[in-house]
């Protein structure tokens, strides 16, 4: 049974996080995103999220492209093969699930928006996903009930955002010649193939050939930060 203090105590914080995640989802969907839903331990939750978005319960609402990652599949391999830059990856899982941690840290290299829904006193580290929507309970049955409420509200709020087309336009792109955000920092990338001191890496902008002589020899699947054509650190 869900204790009242648990159910209502989370409401304020969860509501704020849901609002931000919903606007982000609406923006991504408006720009053509597909949402990939995964829950390795509770596949029924991932199925439920996907069916909500694909086949809305309210007649007349837009059908949106959402897909469940099969629970038996290798999550990272499936998503690596499937996602396009601009897509959304939504996961329901505990904070220490290694499959999910390995997926989420690749989000910036793949160029996807990540949403992590979960429960428990142990939360994902700050920055582990673009959006973390968390309830504090450590009781599995309470958590499961609250998850249903959370993804229903995520769907409802996302559709409210579609009524505000002016707020769904992409953020203005940076066009300056030298810009702190784009050029002076490392960009995350995932190694695809390695050839001596060179490697082909995947970034949100596509595949790039880079020099990896400054770091220990990377392997396919490794994440690196690149700057001016060089890998500067591996992570």
């Amino acid at each position: 049974m869900v204790a009242e203090h648990t159910a209502m105590g989370d409401a304020g914080r969860v509501a704020d996080d849901l609002a931000r995640a919903s606007l982000a989802l609406a923006r991504r969907f408006s720009a053509g995103a597909t949402m990939w839903c995964a829950s390795p331990d509770w596949p029924f939750h991932a199925h439920h999220v996907a069916v909500e978005f694909v086949h809305p319960v309210i007649v007349g609402k837009r059908a949106l492209p959402a897909v469940t990652v099969p629970p038996a599949a290798d999550m990272v391999a499936t998503l690596r093969a499937s996602v396009n830059p601009g897509d959304i990856v939504l996961v329901l899982a505990d904070a220490d699930d290694p499959r999910v941690l390995d997926t989420m840290r690749r989000g910036p290299a793949w160029g996807v928006e990540t949403v992590w829904i979960g429960a428990g006193s142990h939360r994902p580290a700050p920055g582990a996903a673009d959006h973390v929507i968390w309830v504090d309970t450590d009781v599995p049955l309470e958590a499961s009930e609250l998850f249903v409420r959370i993804y229903h509200l995520l769907w409802e709020l996302t559709h409210v955002c579609f009524e505000h087309p002016g707020l769904l336009k992409p953020e203005p792109e940076c066009t300056d010649e030298v810009c702190i955000t784009c050029s002076d920092e490392g960009r995350p990338a995932e190694v695809v193939t390695v050839d001596g001191d060179e490697a082909v890496v995947r970034t949100p902008d596509g595949h790039e050939r880079i020099d990896v002589s400054l770091i220990d020899a990377p392997a396919p699947g490794d994440l690196v930060l690149i700057h001016a054509g060089f890998a500067i650190t591996s992570s």
Partner: protein, 227 residues
């Protein structure tokens, strides 16, 4: 219960730029719905308290006699069927979930909506209204339990499955919404029908999730009492 998004009128011009105002409205709307969902849950559980105990006792008897639980539903309700089967077969370890000291018993349960080979074979060959009833013809025994989930209470393939289950002598349990529809109507093959009284599919499913947990806990308590 009416939807509460009405206050958010669509903007005709596409040049709205202040997202902070929208975010505040969204958060307020989410809190209101969360509260509404919680109230409906409390009302639903208290309305069905006696029925939960009676149903759990009947289910415990079936399980004790070697019966199995078959769950079914369409769409989001299919995922609820899957979640309930998961709960019965792989009960959570958290001690706070248990109604009585001691570990919860793993019980045989299966969702009839999960096997895509069977679902598509039956849907293609004999029709979607028979996808669950045909599986009960193949698997069902008199002491089993059939549990179907529907927010309207009107799904044809559920009604066919309940009729087949009753014919075999199975215990039939319905988790419905709105006004209960055909599942709660006079002469329905559903013996124990739980109805979440709401017009919102989402709020109904949220309270159904609470009913499912409460029923499972009561079954565990009933089984613990018979050990």
């Amino acid at each position: 219960m009416p939807e509460t998004t009405d206050f958010l009128y669509p903007f005709i011009e596409g040049d709205e730029t202040d997202s902070e105002e929208l975010l505040e409205d969204l958060a307020r709307s989410a809190q209101g719905k969360w509260r509404q969902s919680w109230k409906l849950r409390q009302v639903t559980l208290s309305q069905h308290e006696a029925q939960l105990q009676a149903t759990a006792a009947a289910m415990a008897e079936r399980f004790a006699a070697g019966g199995r639980l078959f769950t079914f539903g369409n769409g989001g309700s299919a995922t609820d069927a899957e979640a309930v089967a998961h709960l019965y077969t792989q009960p959570p370890a958290g001690p706070a979930d248990l109604p009585a000291p001691g570990a919860a018993r793993a019980l045989p349960a299966r969702s009839l909506a999960e096997d895509q080979a069977v679902m598509t074979a039956l849907g293609n060959d004999v029709g979607f209204e028979l996808v669950f009833s045909r599986q009960l013809i193949a698997h069902g025994r008199g002491h089993d339990i059939a549990m179907g989930f529907s927010t309207s209470g009107n799904s044809d393939n559920l009604m066919r499955a309940f009729a087949e289950a009753r014919k075999q002598g199975m215990l039939t349990v319905g988790i419905a919404g709105t006004d209960g529809g055909r599942m709660a109507a006079e002469g329905s093959p559903v013996e124990q029908c739980f109805v979440v009284r709401s017009d919102s599919v989402h709020r109904i499913q949220e309270s159904q999730a609470a009913l499912n947990s409460a029923l499972w806990a009561a079954v565990q308590a009933a089984l613990a009492g018979t050990r």
